[in-house]
Subunit: 253 residues, 6 copies
């Protein structure tokens, strides 16, 4: 049974940390432009939903989301509010230390945005180096394979899925009222030879903020993407959970 920690008194959360692996699941989102038809909180909504499903599967404590992330690439769009990499790292390191003091068994960060990957990796590495507590960041494992399955439109670039069919499908599933289907519009920019290698702001390439075509999106595709991500995450977490349980059993001896 999952605990929604933000709505729960501390003794119940403490008790949950004492059960089984005692994991905390943290959705790490972003506040980032997603075209004229998707809300700024798209990445947070996605991470929060994956985190909620994982918390249920893991009998874990669901933490309230971090709504802001490192979205440097889209900082040129008005409305995107990006944290620095250092701040993203600091948030997770601070929470990791606090979770260890609170007796949690481990921390699973569900990352909703590409830009958080580097700083979140730095954070979990630091928590490992200092022996704070077992921590892992999930960058939507399993979603790429599901994308290949559901996708009908051409991607704007290999591996790029931003405010197009994929993300729109997910939001149609999660918050259809927040999707402005009347504003759909495709955009396929021409990228330079060093795109994906050299750090680059994205706004010169797409005035709308769309990269690809949202029009084939459906809520059903969204569900398939979310489901595959949860399954992929559970597969990755198998040995992580086992490792946490083993560590707790050793400590209990």
């Amino acid at each position: 049974m999952m605990i929604d920690a933000d709505r729960t008194p501390w003794p119940d959360v403490a008790a949950a940390f004492d059960r089984g692996a005692g994991l905390a699941v943290l959705p790490f989102g972003a506040f980032e432009q997603h075209g004229p038809h998707l809300p700024l909180g798209t990445d947070t909504a996605t991470a929060a939903e994956v985190a909620r499903r994982l918390a249920e599967r893991l009998d874990a404590v669901l933490l309230p989301p971090v709504h802001y992330g490192d979205t440097w690439n889209t900082a040129g769009y008005r409305g995107t509010l990006s944290l620095s990499s250092a701040t993203v790292t600091a948030i997770v390191v601070d929470l990791g230390r606090a979770l260890a003091r609170s007796g949690a068994g481990g921390l699973v960060v569900v990352n909703g945005d590409w830009g958080n990957r580097g700083p979140l990796y730095t954070a979990t590495r630091l928590l490992l180096d200092e022996g704070v507590l077992p921590a892992i960041t999930l960058d939507h494992p399993g979603m790429d394979a599901a994308i290949d399955e559901v996708r009908e439109s051409r991607p704007a670039a290999a591996g790029l899925a931003h405010a197009e069919e994929i993300e729109t499908s997910i939001m149609l599933r999660l918050a259809p009222d927040d999707v402005r289907t009347d504003r759909y519009g495709a955009c396929y920019p021409a990228f330079p030879s060093d795109f994906g290698t050299r750090p680059m702001q994205l706004h010169p390439f797409s005035p709308s903020g769309v990269f690809g075509d949202p029009s084939p999106a459906t809520a059903d595709k969204g569900e398939r993407l979310l489901d595959a991500t949860v399954e992929g995450s559970m597969a990755v977490l198998a040995d992580f959970v086992a490792d946490v349980l083993r560590g707790r059993a050793e400590e209990a001896r």
Copy 2:
């Protein structure tokens, strides 16, 4: 008309930043023990509600809340997850810079927890020093006077209101389902002579985390406290808004 930015596409938020003072309102909460009967998210819920009402009054952009704050004093309770002071400061500085790039006219931080006061002051001072954008932090102005009016129980110490009549009243108003009225219990610790002067962890003084008596709490008192805080905040903001409008008019010339 208030804009709930997390659920809104970026062009609409950009348009809102161009209207009037173009303010953004950020609720800065905390994830902190509030006794056995109130949820860990109590401060966030309070700040979010005050921020929502202010955004409506100010025709402003409501930002999604920061759910974690500097709650050093209660870090000894399991479940409290405290950020460091530096991280709290960094979050607001980063968001302030991003809001300036996004064309917002100013930033109003609605602070939900005592522990955030120092780091938030540091952040707004830094935003002023660097000329980033006008920024102010509101520590629930007007609430103290309202507390004096509604309070029936004795405070645990002068100026201390934690998980007792006051905060419980607010949560009865905001989220009655999350208040465990069956767990009410008063606690009046004996404090040393340097309490309030020397930095001190609070858990040795109250095992439950309650400081005072929650039993006289009512939703009606909660509404009066919230209303007084919104009115107090609007009074403080009068010259701030005027200052932002004046600055924008000058820039437009």
Copy 3:
């Protein structure tokens, strides 16, 4: 018997650290404008005098003062030399660590300026967190009540006492030769609604740097203010000293 450490060889200071609570008292001043009639070292002189009296009462080691503090609010006046908050914190953290290595029982910081409050709180909290040594900052406890008693002139704002009757009285007591009584001049600025909430430089409000009216100042009032501050400080320190002695007794076992 108080030890004036700056004029004393190290073995005598070491011996003093071994006696009783073995406290060190550090006056933390400021180099800040105090109108055309009071010297830049006003806050340092006040803190140094309070510290000297406390050291005598506590049989403690008096350290030489820090003459510079965080005086951001008055940095717009020529002559004010403000340290950054981080530097103020660093000085006390460094000294706290060095005192612990030197075998002192605890550190009492006597703070002479409002601007140092935040950074000094940060410092003592850090010394506590790292278990360096017991440390406390005193922000002139007891002085506010004495101000209410002696004050004849109206304050420029609630709780504001800068270069007016109160501070002038103290300097008439401590260093009458340094008070330019011929330059007295009152100033009562009009403050905006967010004064005291939003970080603000003070020089636009008073060209002279005076906030209130120095003319009713007397040396006798100054003595009453200092005496009340020393008494207030001793009252706050009662349990601090007891705590240090208990800790030393336990270590000795």
Copy 4:
């Protein structure tokens, strides 16, 4: 005419910054063991006296001293209170910035301790790099030559003068009441081959903290040492002052 800034109101200091080169002279001392016969404030007293004489010669503003420095080498003696290198640097950088805002023409730091050399060099280099204001640190130029002239006792190592004939002579001149002549005692340690190359704490080499022999000290030697240092400092400063005056003349055009 020298201005003792700590005892002077701000408008008079501002006026002094407008006159001639408008220099500020900052004595940077240390709080460091100087054997059983010299006070902990020996380096500060020396720097303060040199600074006072220089301020008189330069018609400059004398700032109150910094009483603590980077005295890492003697931190193993109880009573030595050392700042970190970073803190020493930060103090001078902060003061340099504040002096520039206050309209000072330049900053002359009179350094009283060997350990401050590195961090003070870092500070003045940074002030130069950022174009804050002209700044220079004086490490008692001219004193070495004078030492060679007055010294009757053998030094403990080449270039080492700590709590022996030289420093004792200076204190006999500056504060004879604070010199415990009854405690004189020589100490000539055997140093390893990497002494002076490898960072090393000094307390293992001399239990008393004396390095050399204080007994031939006289106040007259002290005066000769101080006088030579002032003359040496003035010689070094000739082109510095000319440079500041040239810069001010250019700005005035």
Copy 5:
């Protein structure tokens, strides 16, 4: 014509920065275990060779290599000497600033090790944000495709090439005398489900440090890998060079 800057006087390097794109090429290596048969400098040697060939193709200035990198994953092997991520970033940021002051047109970092990717990305992003100079990091583009072509042995994990056929081939081409062919030994560890997701030290998985099988390595394969990397790098750089030239032409106007 390529300039080997380490062996060249400064006026000739300055002249080279004035020619064409005026690029500097920096090989960023690592000092990391590569099994019992390859030298610790393997990554540096590879990066240096690719950089040399690129500098020739680009008529650029070849900088001397950085021999140490962020090799956190293999820090558990004795001999690996890893820099922190922050240090790797700082080196490139410092060099980027210095190159801009020296009049270089741009910086191409040839990265030799996986662990440097994050910190080098951070560095080039920072150089872009601050407008220092155009900078790009190349992580051996084109090599993966070449690996797929030449590889005869099975990889230890998807995308993992460490001290096996691939790297051994490169070293057989670059420094055959430094390859201990008598020590070849394959290692195919069993990895947990979170391998590649959770930060993990590698030494528990392979005592020798080999991941895969070095035995099918040949110098000819090494040449093909290097050649493909140079071609892949030139392809990525096409628009980068054009961008630098365009910027210089604009500045010249």
Copy 6:
């Protein structure tokens, strides 16, 4: 027998760390203008050669050089690429920690440039403070005496040897092909009174970057300088090595 670690597999380096004192020798160079006739890598070449000879004498592990240093004074010459002081310190601290983990007995840094002295001192002091491993920096001990013996030309200033007879002699010995003897040219600038005291860029004093006269340089003088430096270094290291051996013997017990 010296180990050239960059060309050696890790198990052999690990074995070398287990033998005798198990020292690592790190040449720390610079990338700095040395006039029109000497290469930018002059300091690195010198440090690398001294380090190589020391490693042979000490049966130690020779690490690959750091090619960049803190060359702030000559950063005004195009081609000089200076690291910040903090980066120089960080590199050695990181390597010191990694060497300790690798089981090295101690670290000997051979410093090739004046500008690195401060930051390298900071690094070795920090490694000592944290008990990481014994570490020492050698600033070419013995070379000054040898300079006095071989020098035929007048120095540009006392203690200044840059791109003139001394450094040119060393490069004629180490890399005669890289010395442009056809470009020799003397330069004797007039220095201000605060030269050597106030931080100062050097390029205004010598357009060529030469300070002194390279023309009397010979390879034979270079060899005498290098040899004296190695002998001077060995003399300084005598007690350092003894100290490391004693520490290892104690640990082995």
